[in-house]
């Protein structure tokens, strides 16, 4: 059953009347009948965790917002720029009202003045569609002053980025939205604190998929949501499958489904029958790569089980590679991404990605030495944990883990 990708089950759910007919805004109505603190308690009890990558408990994040502050904001992370991620796009294209309803529930729970939806610039047509949805809701009295007669006021706006992966990092996103360079901020103060959020006001930043879960949680109850998935990973998750599978695409399945079920039953198994799977990046370019062994295939896709196999489920952008793929080339591709996307603020990230890219190119060209392989591993180890934002760690991951799991793929280029 789809909770998020309902556009696949219900024709025209992107029209307000159809959305309403299928329980649309039932969650919002329930929320408005509760106190904000009660709404936060329901979301806490549901076990919902952030779908943007870090998996932070959503209700707990909302509870960090100081209630007494007069001005607060909600910012929706619709930057969707992690390599291999294309889930928020489908939610917003096919089921936009559910995102807006979830955002309004969040806004009510923290008593926000306004919601800003930060979309990657390429999603301008999605932005236009969301603007139309917001206007339709305003006409019905669901956005703006005195929402649904509750006395609560809230505006919803869209904002377009302009092609910078780093603006998906929440503090860079806030800078970008304020019209400054999209570079991360020094924390503390965190976005949820006065001084750290949008326009220095306390702010919740949540991913699109995270918030699209909230209407269901409110209308069906925390227990219904918690009943899906595993103990520590509640609910459904959208898995974006790409690479060497027969049927790439988005699959919404309960958390805790095994990689095997996803990759074989749903995605159809290896793209070419005679080329078995070799490796997988389960969280786009930024999470650790793992070999696709039987042990990995039988691992449930949950936060806790993925940690046991040395990786993360993160944004669940699952990039699958078959036995023909050279992991040195993969390390190079991913490194070029991070070199291009480093915002340049910290030296280890800026210089490190530049240098790693140069040396990997040399290795791929057959001009490298075994020492070069050792050196890039050392540089990557030293980069991790020394930077202002997590991009520095993300950039170290592909090097460290490809070399760890696939040393022969590197050795073949340097033994001449």
């Amino acid at each position: 059953m789809h909770i998020l990708l309902r556009g696949r089950d219900i024709d025209n759910i992107k029209q307000l009347a159809v959305y309403e007919k299928h329980d649309g805004f039932a969650g919002m109505k329930k929320a408005l009948a509760m106190t904000p603190a009660e709404v936060i308690d329901v979301v806490k009890a549901s076990g919902l965790r952030g779908r943007g990558g870090a998996g932070f408990p959503t209700g707990v994040k909302w509870s960090f917002i100081p209630q007494h502050e007069p001005v607060k904001f909600v910012t929706i992370n619709a930057d969707e720029s992690e390599t291999g991620t294309f889930k928020d796009r489908e939610i917003m294209e096919e089921n936009p009202y559910q995102l807006i309803e979830g955002s309004l529930i969040c806004a009510y729970a923290i008593q926000a003045k306004a919601v800003y939806i930060y979309l990657r610039g390429e999603f301008w047509d999605i932005g236009d569609q969301l603007d139309e949805c917001i206007e339709a809701l305003r006409e019905k009295g669901f956005v703006g002053k005195n929402i649904m007669g509750s006395g609560y006021d809230c505006e919803v706006y869209t904002h377009l980025g302009a092609g910078a992966y780093i603006c998906g990092e929440e503090s860079a996103l806030l800078n970008s939205l304020e019209g400054y360079l999209g570079q991360p901020r020094v924390r503390p103060p965190f976005p949820a604190q006065k001084g750290g959020g949008l326009y220095k006001e306390a702010t919740v930043v949540n991913n699109v998929e995270t918030l699209a879960n909230v209407p269901y949680i409110m209308s069906e109850g925390a227990d219904a949501f918690k009943a899906i998935g595993t103990e520590q990973s509640a609910g459904n998750k959208i898995y974006c499958v790409s690479g060497h599978v027969k049927r790439s695409g988005n699959y919404e399945l309960p958390m805790g489904t095994t990689f095997r079920e996803l990759l074989y039953d749903h995605a159809g198994g290896p793209l070419y029958e005679d080329r078995p799977f070799k490796a997988m990046l389960p969280s786009g370019g930024s999470g650790p790569i793992v070999p696709l062994t039987d042990e990995v295939l039988d691992t449930p896709m949950s936060y806790e089980d993925c940690a046991n196999i040395g990786t993360i489920i993160g944004s669940a952008s699952i990039i699958v590679m078959d036995e023909t793929v050279d992991m040195t080339w993969v390390a190079s591709k991913v490194t070029k991404f991070f070199k291009h996307e480093s915002c340049g603020k910290c030296t280890p990230c800026r210089e490190g990605t530049y240098w790693l890219d140069k040396v990997i190119d040399r290795i791929l060209d057959g001009r490298g030495s075994p020492d070069d392989v050792k050196r890039i591993a050392d540089v990557a180890e030293n980069m991790a944990g020394t930077t202002l934002c997590a991009l520095g760690d993300f950039a170290a991951n592909p090097i460290i883990h490809t070399i760890r799991h696939f040393p022969d793929d590197f050795a073949q280029h340097v033994q001449s």
Binding site: L160, G161, G182, S242, S248, H340
Partner: protein, 170 residues
Amino acid sequence: MAIIGNSKYEERINHHIAKYETKRSAVMPLLYIAQEEYGWVNQDGINEVAQLLNLDPTQVKSIAGFYTMYSEKPKGVYWLQVCTDLPCALQGADDFHAWLKEELGVEEGGTSADGMFTVEHVMCLAACDKAPMLQCNFRYVEDLDQNKMRELLAKWRAEAAASMNGRSAE
């Protein structure tokens, strides 16, 4: 023309300035408007955005330079950005990108001799299940192959020629 005092943009400019807590926040949407008017973000556009938001032109220029979707030099009539990031590359995007450059006789980032096509490669565009893909003037074109691409190039050439003729007939 200009964007200030241009009735085509007035409503949009006012909407963007009104929707944020500070004027400065409107710099990104206004840069898109400048790019729409001039075809790229030129100095005139930067000066006008700065004037509208009470910013220094050098601040506006540094914002424009930070993001890849603001073009700091003129592009061909069709700006083709091919995704060659990992998932697309696993489905043949590198070869497709190389073929396209050869077909049009351009280097990476270059524009074809007739001024029609600029080709460059970009990072993931959130369309990885529809590779190879590109965006043409910020519109996604997905599930491509060489045949489809040849047809599209011919179609775009014809459309550009038709709009040129239309303009000279005016």
